[in-house]
């Protein structure tokens, strides 16, 4: 009678040890099976031994599901992963899948992978051939930029990071000048340093730029330009002047309605037709204009959301102080509106960074493009998996860091309303 009783506080002393034992046994079975390829329950019929961990785990979880047991850790466990039969099953499946998939992943990434060597023949293991990444690393970072000149890109980024780093520690007053320098002076200095052509620096044409540094350059410039254009478009769309309003609406909806890839196609093949014969605009600049205008339209919609969310009283208060249109927007409306839409702005900027690989359509190769080039190299065929996993990891780290930073910023700037 006692054995088939419902688990409760009265029989906790017998049920919990048995339950925990069964659950651990089921995990142990799966674990040994996955890591050492040895079936603990091999003596049983194959059908049974296949499902046994599930059955054992299920019974075990049933036995330890005691409400208000008085044992704190058991209560927490039950509440979080074992609140009813269905949840217990889900928990079991999740843990089994995690255990099962760990060994092959571990093998491919580390245990069976090759790290030493400098050609494809050095990759003898079954796992990933990280030698590929090692050999091509320079190209993945700098594209076809000449090796001897790569210090220029490094210097440009080093200066950037140093200034950004210092600006975190200086006083508010100095910070303003740092930001002004970063926005208005540095971009042009940096681009001059990278492209060269004067001050005794060798000229490097933009077709040779590439790799991750190109991703950063394009992202940085597009972010820099698309933000003010987006704000102006948003103000234009909210304007009371009909001509400006409808031109803004038309402009925004045009860009938002088409995929970026067609915009890039347009900048590559259609735009030259609209220029006077003989004029030539650098491919990189054309692409930059296309991405900037495209993302500015999305930015405009985000900012418009913030403008709409502001109560009318803010406008009226600013006007009653005698402020004109521009002063009202710059000092009262925009600071509040932009703060409201930080998540939206961050998402747009993230989308921009994630869109940069698309420049392959015009023949520019940033990180993903360089991997496409490297994997078709006759000496390195069959390295697509390593290449794209690497690129995915790099982009993931960048984008994840951006999204966490925006969440922090949002928390820091949030004011009680």
């Amino acid at each position: 009678m006692n054995l088939i009783a419902k688990p409760s506080k009265d029989n906790i002393k017998t049920y919990v040890p048995i339950g925990l034992f069964l659950v651990s046994l089921s995990f142990l079975d799966v674990f040994v099976n996955a890591f050492f390829n040895f079936n603990l329950m091999g003596f049983l019929p194959s059908q049974l031994s296949y499902f046994l961990p599930l059955i054992l785990g299920y019974i075990g979880f049933y036995l330890i599901r005691i409400e208000f047991s008085g044992v704190r850790s058991l209560d927490i466990l039950n509440k979080n992963i074992n609140s009813n039969n269905f949840n217990a099953l889900l928990t079991l499946f999740t843990i089994f899948i995690i255990i099962k998939s760990t060994p092959p992943m571990l093998d491919w990434f580390i245990l069976e992978a090759n790290f030493v060597g400098n050609s494809k023949d050095d990759c003898t293991g079954d796992g990933a051939c990280w030698v590929f990444i090692k050999v091509w690393f320079n190209r993945f970072m700098y594209g076809l930029y000449p090796d001897s000149e790569q210090w220029r890109i490094n210097t440009a980024f080093l200066i950037l990071f140093t200034i950004v780093g210092i600006s975190f520690f200086v006083s508010e007053k100095l910070k303003k000048y740092f930001i002004l320098f970063l926005v208005f002076v540095f971009p042009f200095l940096g681009i001059k340093l990278i492209s060269g052509g004067s001050f005794g620096l060798e000229y490097v044409e933009s077709a040779a730029w590439g790799g991750l540094s190109l991703t950063f350059i394009i992202s940085a410039f597009a972010i820099l330009f698309c933000f003010p254009i987006g704000v102006i478009l948003a103000l234009g769309r909210r304007s009371s002047l009909p001509a400006i309003k409808y031109i803004s609406i038309g402009f925004i909806e045009l860009w938002r309605g088409v995929p970026l890839i067609t915009v890039l196609f347009m900048s590559a093949v259609m735009f030259p037709m609209f220029l006077p014969d003989g004029t030539f605009i650098d491919k990189l600049i054309r692409v930059l204009i296309a991405i900037t205008l495209f993302e500015a339209a999305y930015m405009a919609e985000v900012v418009r959301g913030g403008l709409q969310a502001l109560p009318k009283g803010q406008y009226e208060a600013a006007k009653s102080l005698g402020m004109g249109y521009w002063r009202m927007n710059a000092l009262i409306i925009l600071p509040q509106a932009l703060k409201l839409v930080i998540p939206g702005i961050a998402n747009t900027l993230l989308a921009l960074v994630k869109d940069t690989p698309l420049i392959f359509v015009v023949g520019l190769m940033e990180l993903a493009g360089m991997i496409g080039l490297a994997k078709t190299n006759p000496k390195w065929l069959g390295m697509a998996m390593e290449g794209y996993v690497f690129a995915g990891l790099v982009f993931w780290v960048i984008c994840y860091a951006m999204s966490r930073y925006s969440q922090n910023l949002e928390r820091k700037l949030s004011t009680e309303r």
Binding site: I247, G257, P259, I261, D277, C399
Partner: protein, 391 residues
């Protein structure tokens, strides 16, 4: 002095000046670009026009839902590309919705593990560029599949190989009758549901409309099989030897790897955004609503169906339509892996052959624009319909 006074007092003039400047600037830019284009086209000896759409295209397309070969016109090629775009978008939207709803609900699960796994799914797939995911599936994952002779077989009716996925083909007899019966079933369901709603609102009667609708949807088409001569047979793919070493599957329908990779990547990427929408929608329904519904005696299913879902859907649907739109636009990345969508077929091959950049890019962009604007018109209509009507 006078000038300033004039400006401030005469609001009409003050408003007119910036507008006039904007319009003039825009017009002059358009005229400048148009003249340049005219001169350039004149130099190259091409004239603006859409007559080329009727010319013979003379290129092949690897995957087409309608009859097409090189002897058809550019207009027909455009249609093939458009249909392929719609196909991959529809498949992507279907799976993205299912996965998005599952992941979104899982993120709110009271099971800690499930919630965490769902959260990491979203964090991982949202933060990797879609194009990289497409490349990964196409160049890395699907290239690891076996050759036709060692295909992964699903109960011997469907085969997964490096050359694509072969599935049985549906061979219908009297398909029209079947289609009509399905339409009839949907009309019947519409009337059943509106009757059920009326009964509920007027008399408080609950009619199990979901079960009745489902039964109608199964029963009416089923009768056509029994009485109206509709029949369905399957044509299975069979392994065929082309030469001593080359094998292929004949018969059935072949789903090309480009389509699989694109649909996989699009649906897994968009699912993360839909999951966030679903989560926000369910969280957006106040706890008080559920408690109020429970206190007037509704059971758990009724609370979900009559109280939570209608309110949650109001929050979920507008951003989700936006995601559908994004998915459709993102399907243009097909060009990167040579899936013959509208961008690859029309803005790629056709443009290279004819050199008519302005016409072709305009048509392509207009197609997407039409699609977007029609969806946003629908969305505005839906928003207006679903908005809370305050009394």
């Amino acid at each position: 002095m006078n000038f300033k006074k004039l400006n401030i007092e005469n609001k009409k003039i003050r408003d007119l000046i910036p507008q006039a400047i904007t319009v003039l600037a825009l017009l002059s830019a358009i005229i400048y670009f148009a003249t340049n284009a005219q001169i350039n086209m004149g130099n190259r000896g091409i004239s603006f026009g859409f007559g080329f759409l009727n010319q013979e295209a003379s290129f092949d397309i690897t995957f087409s839902m309608i009859e097409y070969d090189g002897s058809h016109s550019y207009g027909r090629a455009f249609l093939v590309g458009l249909l392929n775009t719609i196909l991959v978008s529809a498949i992507g939207i279907f799976f993205a919705t299912i996965m998005g709803v599952i992941v979104g609900i899982s993120r709110l699960s009271d099971n800690y593990l499930i919630a965490k796994v769902a959260e990491w799914y979203v964090e991982i797939f949202r933060n990797i560029p879609l194009i990289l995911q497409i490349f990964f599936w196409y160049f890395a994952a699907l290239r690891a599949l076996p050759l036709p002779e060692n295909a992964i077989s699903f109960y011997d009716i469907s085969f997964l190989t490096i050359k694509g996925w072969y599935v049985p083909k549906f061979v219908w007899a009297n398909f029209n009758i079947f289609l009509l019966s399905v339409i009839a079933a949907f009309i019947a369901i519409y009337f059943i549901n509106s009757y059920a709603t009326k009964q509920r609102e007027q008399f408080g009667k609950q009619i199990p409309s979901t079960i009745i609708s489902l039964a109608t949807l199964i029963f009416i088409p089923l009768t056509t099989f029994l009485f109206l001569g509709v029949s369905l047979t399957f044509e299975y793919p069979v392994l065929k030897q082309l030469s001593p070493t080359v094998f292929t599957y004949a018969g059935g329908v072949s789903i090309i790897p480009e389509l699989i990779a694109l649909a996989l990547a699009l649906s897994m990427y968009t699912a993360t955004f839909i999951a966030e929408n679903v989560r926000a929608g369910i969280l957006g329904v106040g706890k008080g609503q559920k408690e109020a519904a429970a206190s007037i005696g509704l059971n758990k299913n009724q609370i979900l169906k009559l109280v939570v879902m209608p309110q949650a859907l109001r929050i979920i649907i507008p951003p989700t339509t936006n995601q559908y739109l994004n998915l459709t636009k993102n399907s243009s990345l097909a060009a990167a892996i040579a899936y013959p969508d509208i961008v690859l077929v029309f803005a790629g091959t056709a443009l290279m052959q004819t050199g008519r950049a302005i016409e072709i890019i305009s048509i392509t962009m207009l197609t997407y624009l039409t699609l977007s604007i029609s969806i946003s018109i629908f969305m505005n209509w839906y928003n207006k319909k679903m908005a809370i009507k305050e009394k």
